[in-house]
Symmetry: C2
Subunit: 443 residues, 2 copies
């Protein structure tokens, strides 16, 4: 999809000397952290968990102050729920930190091992990215999750949480750094950014920050993409589809549709549009209309769907909308090809599913839909790092280049080519004195 001309970059001010200095400190600490062993990084994350436990009272008190301020400001109930961090929720988050400590080491994995010639051996090893810049919602548990993923993967992090969670985040970060102080990791590896100026300054820290991970609205993600040279890991939209094929188990398809729409409508992996093959539409919609109504879902259909009982007419805009709510657009299509065309035109390449009993139709769908997740006979809501078995998730990427889809520890690493020789020079291979063997060795 073509997007409008981005705003000029000049609107972003330069980082302050203080921010530059702190970011340089994070980078230094991260370089040392990246050289630590698996056990040392694991120990550091365990120490973070222990320190959070020790500081539980202060953290909960800070959160209560945030909640009181939010109440005074009239924050929406859904946001208050996300902001709230009581003792039970904190204990769960600390348990999550401990689980991150137990995840398999993403570093030092040998991805390639090749003899180029006698005594000239190349290997490719996974290494940390360096420093992450993470901008996230007013959700105190996100600080703990992101910080533990960063340290486990050998990365430093500059963290900027939503304003409303300011006191909570500060208390949590203080505890995390206290934990690190008793570990092999320099506490400077984690820094909290607190002002809007600092989060704008973050965008200009190229050379000090290797990846920016924005979590939040589409507008936030696009603003950041347009205003930084640092690579951005973000998803701009989650317009997911479920296509109900001509040959289908209607009960199963309906169960999946209800789950994919209602299990958590605000999630990016919830469906926004239901495509139904015209031959299946009468029977499917006859069952779906009352079921969706019972689940509180408002439907907006094209003319054919309307003729089959969907009360509200969908406009062309509906096909590109991420409702993030109990609203679902319904379109009746003439064929699998039309469904594929619709997804290609309006989808955001996040996750799309088909319900079909025809194995060959399923394979065509799997081969043809160019999204991070393509599913057969299951709910799009499975697009999630925990459900994929990654143990944790920093976000879901809708960009085409890897990391794509749910991103766990593996998305926070890169690789380095290491080569050990014994006086080998390129001229000998250009002249033909030597020649390459290119023999793969065991990984």
């Amino acid at each position: 999809m073509m997007r409008p001309v981005p705003a000029a970059l000049v609107s972003v001010p330069d980082p302050s000397p203080d921010l530059l200095q702190r970011a340089a400190g994070v980078r230094r600490a991260a370089m040392a952290l990246g050289r630590l062993s698996d056990g040392e990084r694991r120990q550091a994350v365990e120490a973070m968990a222990a320190a959070l436990e020790a500081a539980a009272d202060q953290i909960v008190a800070a959160n209560q102050a945030d909640l009181a301020a939010a109440a005074a400001d009239g924050l929406a109930p859904a946001l208050v729920a996300r902001l709230k961090l009581d003792a039970a929720k904190l204990a769960g988050a600390i348990e999550g930190v401990r689980q991150v400590a137990q995840l398999a080491d993403p570093l030092g994995v040998r991805q390639l091992h090749r003899e180029l010639d006698t005594d000239l051996v190349l290997e490719r090893l996974s290494v940390p990215l360096g420093v992450l810049g993470v901008i996230f919602e007013a959700r105190p548990d996100a600080v703990m999750q992101i910080a533990s993923l960063a340290i486990r993967s050998g990365n430093g992090a500059l963290l900027k949480g939503g304003r409303e969670a300011g006191r909570s985040c500060a208390a949590i970060l203080e505890a995390l750094r206290e934990g690190l102080a008793g570990s092999p990791v320099d506490p400077q590896a984690l820094e909290l950014l607190t002002s809007r100026e600092e989060s704008l300054g973050l965008l200009k820290l190229d050379g000090l920050v290797d990846l920016i991970i924005p979590r939040g609205s589409n507008e936030l993600v696009r603003f950041i993409q347009d205003n930084t040279r640092i690579p951005v890991l973000g998803h701009a939209d989650g317009i997911c589809h479920l296509y109900v094929d001509r040959e289908v188990d209607i009960d199963q398809a309906l169960r999946i549709a209800i789950d994919a729409k209602t299990q958590y409508p605000a999630a990016c992996n919830a469906i926004e549009t239901l495509l139904v093959h015209r031959d299946a539409a009468p029977a499917f919609l006859a069952a779906a209309l009352p079921a969706m109504a019972a689940a509180g879902v408002a439907l907006r259909g094209d003319a054919v769907a309307q003729a089959l009982g969907v009360s509200q007419l969908a406009s062309d805009d509906d096909w590109s909308r991420e409702y993030s709510d109990l609203v679902l657009a319904v379109r009746v299509v003439d064929s699998l090809e039309r469904a594929l065309d619709h997804i290609s035109r309006y989808g955001s390449r996040h996750t799309d599913a088909i319900c079909t009993t025809n194995a060959s139709t399923a394979e065509t769908f799997l081969r043809s839909v160019d999204s991070a997740g393509v599913y057969v006979n299951c709910s799009t809501r499975f697009a999630d790092g925990f459900r994929y078995g990654f143990g944790a998730e920093v976000g879901i990427s809708t960009q085409t280049l890897p990391p794509r889809g749910p991103v766990g520890l593996e998305g926070l690493v890169t690789y380095r080519y290491l080569m050990r020789g014994n006086g080998h020079i390129a001229a000998d291979y250009a002249s033909g004195v030597c020649s390459f063997t290119h023999r793969d060795l065991p990984l």
Copy 2:
């Protein structure tokens, strides 16, 4: 390193309707191409090679017209050499296309295969990126190489070569498309851009182009990075170092230094700075000074190096310069740590090497230098896709995120998560009715 504020994006005009239409055609053709089998894509690349052979006379004639125009314009001899495509060079390039056809298929590789629960199986398969936008020098052989890599990896491509090679590129592209016309691949998968307006328009084809690969000057790469939302695969600088340790085989180190500087000084993997441990400096420089002079290399040293016979004093600017010429900066350092600091401060994270006989020093260097290539006792000139055994190369990336270093076919693919279920819904796992097995299956 902090870079200056980029130019505002508004300087780039919108793509013309003609360019939009052609790019959409490439995208359509690429989507079909991405679904073809290994054999079909291989056959298409073979057909491209055969068509180039059939059109050899026209291509060489077009190149002679380009050369005549270049002579009239007084093009520099190095650029003329690069522009020239005689029958022998063309035959070599066609052989290169055939080799690309023979490379292992980068698509359909199963990277993950996991049972999430009974009958709910996740897999991650490599798939094409989609459409590449490649901007390259006035080098006709580059069109053949890039086009064959694109088709082999299932990607469409918009190609923009240097102006001076216009007639050659047009003749080559005509042959390539003629070859594709007799293959399962739609010839529309390849498009040639010819004007400056079109290459600027390319930067705004987000949604139609998935990756831009600029080959050329640092200025070109930065301009593109600052003016597009499309991911860019480029290297901005190649400031490579060779560090000669205290414990070193001086003859071997000198041979490596000469190779790394002189074997092809204009290459990005040639060294620009030699760091020498102070204990090794007297003996090493005594041998290096006459050898470098004999090889035509001009040295610029710090004060200590000057005291040891380097005639010209280096300024601070020299440490950040990519000479791309027979010039080498020399700095004497007190320790391995000072060498690492220098590389961290001035390097471009491309490729850096150490010469040492101490295995532990070598391992510290390998672990500490955060560059795409880190070498022990061999020349930095090995940083190359062919030498790594990738069979071909689209470029060398100095970005941190993968693909990093020399990029072959593997860098032109991404992946997709495919999931096959049997009515599985997320609510059953949230409620505890079902639980995940997360059992890895054979790849």
